[in-house]
């Protein structure tokens, strides 16, 4: 295995692990927010989604 081979393997693995960690963290945060929010606030977010920049 050459150093470039290690680099390609390492970068690919890191990108994919980072993507999965990002998704898990985002989901845990979303669940926490859902549990903290009051029912009307949850309904409002469900209707509008995240604050989209114009």
């Amino acid at each position: 295995m050459t150093p470039l081979g290690w680099t390609m393997l390492g970068v690919s693995w890191c990108l994919i692990i980072a993507l999965n960690v990002f998704c898990i963290v985002k989901m845990l945060r979303a669940n926490e927010t859902d549990q903290r929010q009051t029912a009307p606030a949850r309904r409002k977010r469900a209707q509008t989604g995240p604050a989209l920049k114009a």
Binding site: L9, S12, I16, N20
Partner: protein
């Protein structure tokens, strides 16, 4: 809507179901072979570019239009496309592809899936444990498939038995519905698939250099065989097209399955993060598990020279000939072989149940047929349609069905989806719809990618395929004279099946008009 539509039990269930549908034999067998054949580690550059420009946008589009159509009581592409472009009477007929494709794939995929179940049983029994070379393992496979009578098998009986068991498992899961059947299966099979996968990766990485007299046939050199980059390959357009094709097939976009699954979401359910998570899980299975199992494991026993022909021998040979030979040589080979084929079976069944769902959802949603009856009709029809794939294997029927149902129409369907979503439905409305209930906002440049880059990318792939493959495929130039009558009959049967589905769509809309659900 006479019948209320089911909903997923939890967000995890729908993510596991979509990822389970996407993770299949292609992740574990097709991907490593493609990497080796297309520049090694350098292949990952066009692969990730395609993931960002083609895979993710199509994933988000399918999740979004599925959820949108589900809001109108439609779970399949004809109804979903009609919801997106209500003024156009013909758009629903493009949606026929979204039922036709999964049904055609289901017909042959279930049979191939049954081989994995059979081989996991054979591994435990030690039925192929004494075989030590490619020729004898190839004979074992051909005997099992009923293509020849030999010392291993004297007929197709075992293959048919395992097919019936696999088919019954699929129908049983589908019968219990989205929440009780598919959701429950995926919640159990999805983690199990990763557990089996990581156990096997651990086993492969600790193989060292087991071939006496060949210390250079080390597992690290096996990884190097796959990952050492050849950057000159990036100058070839073929490598970029192969990477785009791999992303397309691995994420299961363009089949019509994801939009059916997403139609069971509620209007307030997130699609952005869920779609991203399902894609991420699929990539984990493909790049980390798929990239660490077959090639490095085979390398340590066969060495670099034989590996070149092994890597080019095709998906089935890698899975059912090379891997059993490799696993025969490792300690606890029976258990490791069982884990390998059970891993493939779990990947297969979570995909096959998803392929059945569009046809069943079509009957439920558009004809108000109850779940049990719809599953019964689907089971009877698909069981009959599976028979030619079993008894006429090797005559080109499966390849023909795979080309039209599992390759060509996927790209056509995805192109229609993205044009309808970004250009007919309208990008501003589409952007708002994607973000309805979303837990995170997409970067704004994706608006531009979805509107321009993804459709152009798809038209380029479609155009290149048509340019290179149209004539040889239509004229059956690559088909042997013996197989031509079978391939031609299959082609006619596929046209007939497509026609029947189009007539059913017409009848469904006439029924809706008569019952006042649809304006004339």
């Amino acid at each position: 809507m006479a019948l209320s539509r089911e909903q997923w039990g939890s967000r995890l269930a729908v993510i596991a179901a979509v990822a389970g549908s996407a993770i299949g034999l292609g992740n574990l067998l097709r991907f490593p072979a493609k990497v080796v054949a297309n520049g090694g580690g350098a292949f990952m550059i066009p692969y990730f570019v395609s993931f960002l420009l083609l895979g993710l946008p199509l994933m988000w589009i399918e999740w979004t239009i599925g959820r949108y159509g589900g809001g109108f009581g439609h779970g399949t592409a004809p109804g979903i496309f009609h919801s997106l472009a209500r003024k156009n009477r013909f758009v629903k007929y493009f949606g026929v592809i979204g039922i036709f494709g999964p049904l055609v794939i289901f017909i042959y995929y279930t049979y191939i899936e049954s081989w994995t179940l059979a081989y996991s049983f054979f591994a435990l029994c030690g039925k192929y444990a004494a075989l030590g070379d490619h020729a004898s393992m190839q004979a074992f496979l051909r005997g099992y498939q009923g293509l020849e009578s030999n010392g291993h098998f004297d007929g197709i009986g075992w293959a048919y038995l395992f097919f019936v068991v696999t088919f019954a498992c699929n129908i049983g899961v589908i019968y219990y519905g989205i929440r009780g059947g598919i959701g429950r299966l995926c919640r159990f099979a999805f983690p199990l698939l990763f557990i089996f996968g990581f156990i096997l990766v651990g086993r492969v990485f600790t193989l060292g250099a087991p071939s006496a007299g060949h210390p250079e046939w080390h597992v690290l050199n096996g990884l190097g065989f796959m990952w050492n980059p050849d950057f000159a390959a990036l100058k070839s357009a073929k490598v970029w097209l192969e990477a785009a094709g791999q992303i397309f097939f691995t994420l299961s976009v363009g089949i019509g399955v994801i939009l059916t699954y997403a139609s069971y979401l509620s209007k307030s359910d997130d699609v952005v993060l869920s779609g991203l998570t399902a894609s991420g899980a699929n990539e984990l299975a493909e790049v980390i598990l798929g990239g660490s199992l077959v090639i490095p494991a085979a390398f340590v026993f066969f060495g670099p020279v034989e590996m070149k022909s092994v890597a080019q021998s095709g998906t089935f040979n890698l899975g059912f000939v090379t891997m059993p030979l490799v696993l025969n040589q490792v300690p606890y080979g029976a258990l490791t072989g069982f884990l390998w084929f059970m891993l493939l079976f779990l990947a297969g069944i979570t995909s096959s149940v998803s392929l059945a769902q569009p046809a069943i959802a079509f009957m439920e949603d558009e004809f108000d047929i109850g779940r049990g009856k719809a599953v019964g009709i689907f089971g009877a029809v698909s069981f009959v349609l599976c028979q030619p794939c079993i008894f006429l294997l090797g005559k080109g029927i499966v390849d023909e069905m795979d080309f039209w149902g599992g390759t060509f129409f996927l790209v056509v369907f995805a192109t229609i989806e993205v044009v309808l979503f970004a250009w007919v439905f309208g990008m501003e409305k589409a952007w708002d719809e994607i973000h309805h209930g979303a837990d995170m906002a997409l970067p704004r440049f994706y608006k531009w990618i979805i509107k321009y880059v993804t459709p152009l990318f798809l038209f380029f792939i479609l155009g290149t395929w048509v340019w290179q493959e149209w004539r040889p495929i239509i004229a059956m130039e690559k088909v042997t004279a013996e197989c031509r009558p079978y391939v031609f009959t299959t082609r006619l049967a596929l046209v007939g099946l497509f026609g029947v589905l189009a007539v059913l769509v017409k009848l469904a809309w006439r029924r809706r008009r008569l019952s006042g659900k649809e304006a004339a």
